[in-house]
């Protein structure tokens, strides 16, 4: 289903439908995360991916119009690049450990410590929250810094519009004269 949604995203040229479909895609992936035991990730994806990002896309469409032109060039070169990259990645997975095996190396570095010690060291039952807010607190601080920087960037980009629109208007005027 995710594959079908992705392919539909590729084909549809009405951007409004694309954005709605991207929201559905996001919600489907949230369901997949729930199945794979990542409940915290699932509700973040449902709220942020399917909720906030759809709203942001719709706002951008309202400001920028929602029709996409037909691609002007042949799709052969991008298709070739994609197929070669995909084949290289599939070749790379041959050495990866199998899905769901408890002996995979990823499960035996710090994860054991988190699961065994976090009830004593932190004292809350949700290990994901304990790791997020305490063991990897600096990560979370860096994340909030990125979000702050992004908010400032968006405000600068959108609020600086008046001055630059004037310049674009002048350019249009020059073109009209010439």
């Amino acid at each position: 289903m995710l594959g079908a949604a992705g392919l539909a995203l590729l084909r549809i040229r009405n951007l409004f439908a694309v954005v709605m479909l991207a929201g559905i895609y996001s919600l489907l992936s949230a369901g997949l995360f729930t199945v794979m035991d990542a409940v915290d990730v699932a509700f973040t994806e449902a709220a942020v991916g399917a909720g906030i990002s759809t709203v942001l896309f719709l706002a951008a469409l309202a400001l920028a119009g929602h029709h996409e032109n037909k691609p002007g060039h042949t799709p052969l070169l991008p298709m070739l690049v994609v197929v070669i990259t995909g084949a290289a990645l599939v070749y790379g997975t041959m050495d990866m450990p199998g899905f769901g095996d408890p002996d995979n190396p990823v499960h035996h570095h710090v994860a054991d410590h988190y699961l065994e010690e976090s009830p004593h060291e932190i004292g809350i039952p949700n290990v994901v929250t304990a790791v997020l807010a305490s063991y990897r607190g600096y990560d979370t601080m860096g994340e909030t810094t990125v979000v702050f920087a992004a908010a400032v960037g968006v405000m600068l980009l959108l609020a600086g519009g008046v001055r630059s629109r004037g310049r674009a208007g002048r350019q249009a005027g020059e073109e009209g004269d010439g």
Binding site: M36, L63, T93, V147
Partner: protein, 133 residues
């Protein structure tokens, strides 16, 4: 043997398929907003890669079943999925929405400045502006 390989690596191949769909949208479509959607698809596929690596067959979500102030007896006997990829991906989702919003703001500004969101039309406007100067 090959069936084994297929079953145990199926998750990686789904992820790679989605990743390549996103990549293809990104490099073959000229519309800037469509490119950002492609980037989002690509990004979500990476999230799935991490989460699928954290899954243990028969495991439960990493929320401890016992009273946290008890002696944690259940911890040794219950199989929990790995919490670490979940934490990393929570951070990545939030950072991803931040970068998406900056990209959309840039797209809106480009639309204001050039009157279009198509890559080739933007190039044409640029060429005309340079020729006029």
């Amino acid at each position: 043997m090959s069936v084994d390989l297929f079953v145990s690596h199926y998750n990686y191949w789904v992820v790679i398929f989605l990743m390549m769909v996103g990549f293809y949208i990104l490099i073959s479509r000229g519309n800037l907003i469509k490119k950002i959607v492609g980037l989002n698809v690509f990004q979500t596929s990476v999230f799935m890669l991490y989460i699928s690596m954290g899954k243990i067959t028969g495991g439960t979500p990493p929320i401890l079943l016992d009273d946290p102030h008890g002696e944690g007896e259940a911890v040794g006997h219950v199989l929990y999925s790995n919490p670490l990829p979940h934490v990393l991906i929570l951070t990545a989702i939030v950072v991803g929405i931040a970068t998406t919003s900056v990209g959309l703001a840039l797209a809106v500004r480009i639309k204001e400045a050039y009157g279009t969101l198509e890559e080739d039309e933007i190039n044409r406007v640029e060429a005309q502006t340079e020729a006029a100067e």
